[in-house]
């Protein structure tokens, strides 16, 4: 049974005055209007930080009540920063089962009303407790990963600056992105050191935001062709190689096999660059370029909107902002917009027929790959 993305709803990402339910319903309403308010029989929603901190344990009934949904069924999913990827996966499976016809998928996060210390602490919940006990944070471990990558492939730290420059230059074209101003390599290299070699502008920003999709039985320009997931050891010291994420490679292999396409068929990709140099690791793990050659692909213009394989035309996590649970769904949303011809100013140069969205939880301990394209 085929499932396709029938509509996409987004609100602007960034620092927003509204609360979690307001942001979620803004995106959801846009998605529902996109299908003429046809009835929804399943609501799938996710948020990483809503537990306790915002008193939003009852996310599903609150959202259903706000939206006036008659949906009799709901699923709440949680996979840290990969929550949006998991929400999409769950909704597709639910429709494929034959039990549901149309699902509203919503992923939302409200972060900017919390202290940086509180966000850092809660985001570190996606890491292994023994590594957090030693003082590690997401940026700290991402810095270690980045050092290993730079050393293995003999690259200069400036490749991290160029990754941020790419992301921010894409975000300028996307009206929903947090960052609406491009940056120069010099500005990135001058930003505050967070955990060497990573600086502030190499790290995703604390943002508020929500994304919603309506999925339906049937086919369209953004039909689900294949899905894959993959785990990798959450304790980083148990990984043999930190310059690649095995869980992404497993997820990609499954999704490519499921979709019966290969990396060469992908014409647009959204990857989870929570830290800007991760764009290279993800491209390599997804087979979009050769191992160790991610920086060359960027430098040659291959990942620009008019390049061989446009990557993160939305601005990615770095440019779009990172309301953690929402990012994984925003990645699918961007691919759907590109395939449906609805990407507006951030549309890639050649209308794509097949696209890939990648989402990551923690330091790639649980990864999701979704391939969309025109269904037959």
């Amino acid at each position: 049974m085929s499932v396709h993305v029938a509509s996409v709803g987004m609100g602007r990402y960034g620092k927003r005055p509204e609360g979690l339910i307001d942001l979620a319903s803004e995106a959801a309403t846009a998605a529902l209007e996109g299908v003429g308010r046809r009835p929804i029989d399943l609501l799938v929603a996710g948020s990483m930080l809503a537990h306790g901190t915002h008193g939003h344990e009852a996310l599903l009934p609150r959202l259903a009540a706000r939206l006036g949904l008659e949906a009799g069924s709901g699923l709440r999913v949680d996979s840290a920063s990969g929550t949006g990827g998991m929400a999409f996966y769950a909704a597709v499976l639910a429709i494929e089962s034959g039990r549901f016809e149309r699902a509203l998928v919503v992923a939302a996060e409200k972060m900017t009303d919390r202290t940086t210390a509180a966000n850092t602490k809660d985001l570190a919940a996606s890491l292994h407790p023994s590594e957090v006990a030693a003082g590690a944070t997401m940026p700290g471990l991402a810095a270690i990963v980045t050092q290993r990558y730079l050393e293995r492939f003999g690259r200069a730290a400036s490749i991290c600056d160029l990754a941020t420059v790419h992301a921010r230059s894409m975000a300028v074209r996307n009206p929903y992105a947090h960052f609406q101003k491009a940056v120069t390599p010099e500005e990135v290299a001058r930003s505050r050191l967070v955990s060497n070699p990573l600086r502030l502008l190499h790290c995703s920003a604390i943002s508020d935001g929500a994304t919603a999709l309506v999925l339906e039985r049937g086919t369209g320009p953004a039909t689900v062709l294949g899905l894959g997931q993959g785990f990798e050891s959450i304790r980083l010291v148990d990984r043999d190689d930190l310059t690649t994420f095995a869980g992404t490679r497993i997820a990609a292999k499954r999704a490519y096999e499921n979709a019966k396409v290969g990396p060469a068929d992908i014409e647009v990709a959204e990857v989870h660059d929570a830290f800007s140099p991760f764009v290279y690791i993800h491209m390599e793990d997804l087979g979009l370029c050769e191992v160790g050659k991610g920086p060359d692909a960027l430098e040659k213009g291959e990942i620009r909107p008019d390049g061989r394989i446009p990557v993160n035309p939305s601005g990615g996590v770095i440019g779009r902002g990172h309301p953690v649970a929402a990012s994984g769904l925003a990645e699918v949303a961007e691919v759907a917009l590109q395939l449906r011809g609805e990407a507006g100013a951030h549309a890639v140069a050649r209308a794509p027929k097949v696209g890939l969205a990648h989402a990551m939880s923690g330091i790639a301990s649980h990864n999701f790959v979704s391939i969309l394209g025109r269904g037959s």
Binding site: A133, A134, G135, A136, T137, G140, I144, Q147, P197, L242
Partner: protein
């Protein structure tokens, strides 16, 4: 081996032979619970090291953290006492409660 012959207790899986940092659970490679402790020389090589300006709760900046490879390719994160080492530096590692600490050794 460090000058004073310090050792570190690490884990060995009797089922698959993996050697790894002690966990409170099963072997990270095969899932077996047949785990034996063994003593390893406490001298390791730094693979990467970073200085966090905002470390996890309970620690103060600057907080230096190193990924260290011990003999038999067992890896651990250690808090660095003293200046930030670079990849390839030798460090002496000791356990202190729940965490490991490393200090730079004279290079051979």
């Amino acid at each position: 081996m460090t000058a004073n012959g310090e050792v570190l207790e690490l884990s060995h899986c009797e089922a698959c032979g993996a050697r790894f940092l002690p966990t409170d659970g099963a072997c990270p490679r095969c899932g077996s619970t047949h785990i034996q402790a063994y003593s390893s020389p406490a001298l390791g090589t730094v693979l990467a090291a970073t200085e966090l300006t905002s470390p996890a709760e309970g620690w103060h900046a600057p907080h230096r953290l190193a990924l260290v490879e011990m003999p038999e390719a067992v890896r651990l994160f250690a808090i660095v006492d003293g200046p930030l080492p670079t990849a390839g530096d030798l460090v002496a590692v000791r356990r202190e409660g729940e965490v490991y600490r490393a200090r730079t050794e004279p290079q051979p």
